[in-house]
């Protein structure tokens, strides 16, 4: 890979989906095809970028304008991991929607593609950003596109959920922006790495609270379940698997690269994570609708991610970092699979009430199996990526003497098992179905879940690299 091509490759993950998204306004037919083509292009570009040796920082000044006025993109290991997993999930969701959405929800199928592409472009731009203001802009773009996804169903719960989301996001981004202002005035720069150590606690706190609101991190999580449940299934998959991770990504960079020494704040984040795990899991147990169970499960799993912050200290930074990143990736795969499967459940049975899921095992066994396989990741059982992540986080917890977090990890896995098997158990027995589920989309959902399941087996090399590349 010559050094000349690589920086231009950096532009592809953003330019391709953005361009395709803009073209959607011109196209009437062939939207899904264009999306798939653009998506494949992104995947290829990302895979080529994987070739870049670890430790090199690729940079691209967009439009040739240098920093600090221009936008600067850079690629390191954390970015490429998120770029790759996002590409796989987004492409799978796009493929699922291309095969299935026009049949299951014909009224909205045409309108799905632009938001998907904008979400993807915004995420990629976010992962490539190197300074706090770029992160703000890309986060805003992401929010707008994500809200679009929520509104797709065109009904009261959709608009309500979308409005709630938008307002919380508005508050969150304003808080974040104020934090950026303080950040800039105190450190004189917007760059995360250059400002390391000089970030005032007030700025950090404001930015964190803003990000917690946007990322549905307990206790600012209330907007997520109605929004994710009201969106169409592929939309919910994108929202729960990808969009919420953006805030976590920024928090990671912020706390680990710029502000490494705020122990009390990290413990506070860990406590919020604990709250998320307990509250989210308990609420997931009591929901009557499948999509709400999955949404509250996301709240709980995001709580695990918050545990990375108190654990990533001293000698254990690398271990906790690798565990957290791998958890984010595995959860994305598993949750996307589960939401796609939930969409198939709605298509097959006509509803998603858990009390009446009987008949799934008989008529849609692949779908039920998908829930099981994806659930293995949520529970943190071998050989899944969730297990490997849990092992690493537990190692960091015991190694650094912070064993209370270990209890949270272990307890959370058990709670996840309860709500997962509640779904699976409900699927047995005889029951009526409205339609037969289609084969190919079922296999796509199962494939995503299978990837999450196997994410533990092939993990040594990326984990090793992540451990060493921890900021």
């Amino acid at each position: 890979m010559s050094a000349g091509i690589a920086p231009w490759l950096l532009a592809a993950p953003v330019a391709l989906p953005l361009g395709a998204g803009l073209l959607m306004t011109l196209l009437v037919r062939g939207r899904s095809l264009l999306t798939l083509v653009a998506g494949t292009g992104v995947l290829i570009a990302v895979l080529l970028l994987l070739d870049v040796p670890v430790g090199t920082r690729l940079e691209l000044a967009v439009g040739g304008w240098p920093a600090p006025l221009g936008i600067r993109w850079h690629l390191d290991l954390l970015a490429i991991v998120f770029l790759t997993s996002t590409a796989v999930i987004a492409l799978a969701v796009a493929l699922f929607a291309a095969l299935h959405l026009s049949r299951s929800e014909p009224a909205i199928a045409r309108h799905f593609w632009a938001p998907l592409l904008f979400v993807w472009a915004a995420l990629n731009a976010l992962f490539l950003s190197a300074d706090v203001f770029n992160l703000y802009v890309t986060l805003e773009l992401l929010t707008l596109a994500a809200v679009m996804l929520v509104t797709l169903e065109n009904n009261q719960p959709a608009f309500d959920g979308a409005m709630r989301y938008l307002l919380v996001a508005l508050a969150g981004s304003t808080l974040y922006l104020l934090g950026v202002a303080l950040f800039y005035h105190a450190t004189g720069t917007l760059d995360l790495v250059l400002a390391a150590g000089a970030v005032p606690p007030a700025a950090l706190a404001l930015m964190t609270v803003g990000l917690m609101a946007k990322g549905a991190l307990f206790p600012l999580h209330a907007w997520l379940p109605p929004a994710h449940a009201a969106a169409p299934a592929p939309g919910s998959a994108l929202l729960s698997a990808l969009v919420v991770k953006a805030a976590f990504y920024i928090l990671l960079r912020l706390w680990l690269e710029s502000a490494p020494n705020h122990d009390a704040g990290r413990i506070l984040l860990g406590l919020c994570g604990t709250g998320a795990v307990i509250w989210g899991s308990l609420l997931a147990l009591t929901q009557a609708r499948l999509k709400l169970v999955l949404a509250y499960s996301t709240v709980a799993q995001l709580g695990y991610l918050l545990l990375v912050f108190p654990l990533a200290q001293g000698a254990w930074t690398g271990t906790a970092f690798a565990g957290g990143v791998w958890l984010a990736v595995s959860h994305g795969l598993a949750k996307a699979a589960m939401f796609l499967a939930a969409g198939l459940v709605m298509y097959t049975l006509g509803h998603d009430r858990i009390a009446e899921l009987r008949g799934l095992a008989r008529h849609a066994p692949l779908t039920l199996f998908t829930f099981g396989i994806a659930g293995v990741t949520l529970m943190g059982l071998p050989p899944s990526g969730g297990f490997v992540a849990k092992w690493l986080l537990l190692t960091a917890a015991f190694g650094s003497g912070q064993w209370p977090w270990a209890l949270v990890l272990m307890g959370g896995g058990l709670l996840a098992a309860v709500y997962t098997f509640r779904i699976i158990g409900a699927g047995f027995g005889e029951g009526p179905i409205e339609r037969k589920p289609p084969r190919a989309p079922q296999w796509i959902a199962l494939a995503l879940a299978g990837l999450a399941l196997l994410a533990g087996v092939a993990a040594e090399l990326p984990l090793l690299q992540l451990q060493e590349a921890a900021p």
Binding site: P382, F387, W391, A406, M410, G425, F428, E460
Partner: protein, 499 residues
């Protein structure tokens, strides 16, 4: 990849690959499924024979699959592993034959046989594990792959049994994971040590923590091994079809729990440290209580499978008792009982399955005169039952003999008392069954469930129990032979207690 690395992986793959293929097979492809199953099972037995020969000649088989930095999947065929692998392979082959006939005509067979095979893969993975990470990895895989088997019939009772099963087992696994990672935080990454323990390098200041870890580990293994008070799931799980009960109780789940305890005591902590910490004393008492409790509860059951389930609760604790007593004799008794009990119990469950499937008989009180209607089945049952009662020269007698000697040798005569009481109780709950079957006669005609066969029932339902019953006799008579489990176990004990 060298042959030494290939063989453990091949043993694993011989059931894993067919299993995964079968899970996705359509129900209609009966013949493909049967072929896949039988080829896999036969291949596994052949591979195991090859491994036995190789290990006898001193070859070391080891396979490494990297997973987490510092914690790879490590598979090794040491003598203890081979013991468990051989048991699993042979009994899997027999149970597969049995299950094909038993489940004739029932739905979801692809799901059943697929997960059945994955379950056996998990079991041999547990056997071959050479570090705690690998052991835990396959231990949990066993949990996941047995769930679909327990709920196979999909009735309310089956689903309820599945929930109970998962509650117990997953709680155990959460504790186990915590204990393992805690141990590694104190001791760093390590492999199982064939003689002595792997923890000699740990600072003596951590002794109290090590004791807690020891108890947590054997406790969580004890959930699958049905130690009181964590045994409740086992009788409840009897709603599963007979091949599942046979597999769960003779080979997979309960033995995996006992095996985990064996590895913990011998290859992680080492017998010296285990006894010095004091954990084994606690374990021995719990095992003793379980032995008596299980036998007492067995007496109370009229349902045959539940009686056998409680008998298993009791019998597995014989193994655990032997593991927790010091000295090589107790070890020999425990490990050889692992094999012998497996073979005896599977015979009993095969027989119980035959009675249920052929004549719709589930309760002991219904068994009057059945010996004359199904002589082969009940003969097998009788032989195995006498084995359980430790009647010489059957296999059960051999293991009890060594357990008793080990109790005396290890300075725990009370354990010998427990064993003797339990033998009496065994007689108390098995003899009535035998008496009813042979010496009472039935008034009403039999409720024939299956079409008439040439023999008393489907041939493939008869062959496995007859073979295993013969094994019960042979392994007892020829216990001192070159290829007997007893000889093999002696080798293991010699490695653990080098003098």
């Amino acid at each position: 990849m060298s042959l030494e690395a290939l063989l453990p992986l091949a043993i694993l793959a011989s059931s894993l690959v067919p299993g995964l293929l079968i899970v996705f097979l359509d129900e209609r492809h009966r013949r493909t499924r049967t072929w896949l199953n039988m080829i896999g099972a036969t291949l596994k037995v052949l591979l195991v024979v090859g491994a036995l020969v190789g290990v006898y000649h001193g070859i070391e088989y080891q396979a490494v699959i990297p997973m987490i930095p510092d914690y790879p999947l490590l598979l090794r065929l040491d003598p203890l592993a081979l013991l468990f692998v051989s048991l699993s392979a042979v009994l899997w082959l027999l149970t597969t034959i049995y299950a094909i006939a038993y489940l004739e005509g029932s739905p979801h067979r692809s799901r059943f046989f697929g997960f059945f095979s994955v379950c056996v893969s998990a079991t041999v993975g547990i056997a071959m594990a050479a570090n705690l990470f690998t052991l835990f990895f396959f231990y949990e895989l066993l949990t996941l792959s047995t769930y679909p088997l327990v709920i196979h019939r999909e009735t309310k009772k089956s689903l309820h049994a599945g929930r109970i099963y998962l509650t117990y087992v997953l709680s155990g696994s959460a504790v186990l994971l915590g204990a393992i990672v805690w141990l590694h935080s104190l001791a760093g990454p390590f492999e199982f040590a064939v003689s002595g323990g792997a923890l000699d390098h740990v600072d003596p200041r951590h002794r109290p923590a090590l004791l807690v870890i020891f108890l947590l580990m054997v406790g969580s293994f004890g959930v699958k091994a049905a130690l009181v008070p964590m045994h409740h799931w086992l009788p409840v799980a009897m709603v599963a079809p007979a091949p599942v009960s046979a597999l769960l109780h003779a080979v997979a789940v309960v033995k995996a729990g006992a095996f985990g305890i064996a590895r913990t005591i011998y290859d992680v902590f080492g017998s010296e440290l285990s006894h010095a910490l004091g954990g084994t004393q606690v374990l021995a008492v719990v095992a003793g209580v379980t032995i008596i409790y299980g036998s007492l509860r067995a007496l109370q059951q009229d349902d045959l499978k539940r009686r056998l389930a409680y008998s298993t609760v009791s019998q597995i604790s014989y193994i655990i008792l032997g593991l927790s007593l010091p000295g090589p004799l107790a070890t020999i008794g425990a490990l050889v009982h692992l094999v012998h009990q497996g073979i005896m119990k599977i015979t009993l469950f095969f027989a119980a399955g035959n009675l249920a499937e052929t004549l719709h008989l589930h309760k002991v009180s219904e068994l009057d005169g059945v010996g004359w209607r199904m002589p082969w089945t009940m003969s097998a049952f009788t032989v195995a039952a006498f084995g359980m009662m430790s009647v010489p020269p059957l296999a059960g007698f051999i293991s009890e003999w060594f357990l008793g000697l080990g109790a005396l040798n290890g300075g725990a005569p009370w354990a010998l008392g427990v064993l003797l009481v339990s033998s009496l109780l065994n007689a108390a709950y098995f003899l009535p069954v035998i008496y009813r079957a042979w010496f009472r006669s039935r008034s009403n005609p039999w409720h024939e469930n299956l079409p008439r066969h040439r023999w008393e029932t489907h041939t493939w339902l008869l062959i496995p129990p007859v073979i295993t019953a013969l094994l019960v006799i042979v392994l007892g008579l020829f216990a001192n032979g070159l290829w007997s489990p007893l000889t093999w176990v002696r080798i293991i004990a010699e490695q653990e207690y080098p003098t």
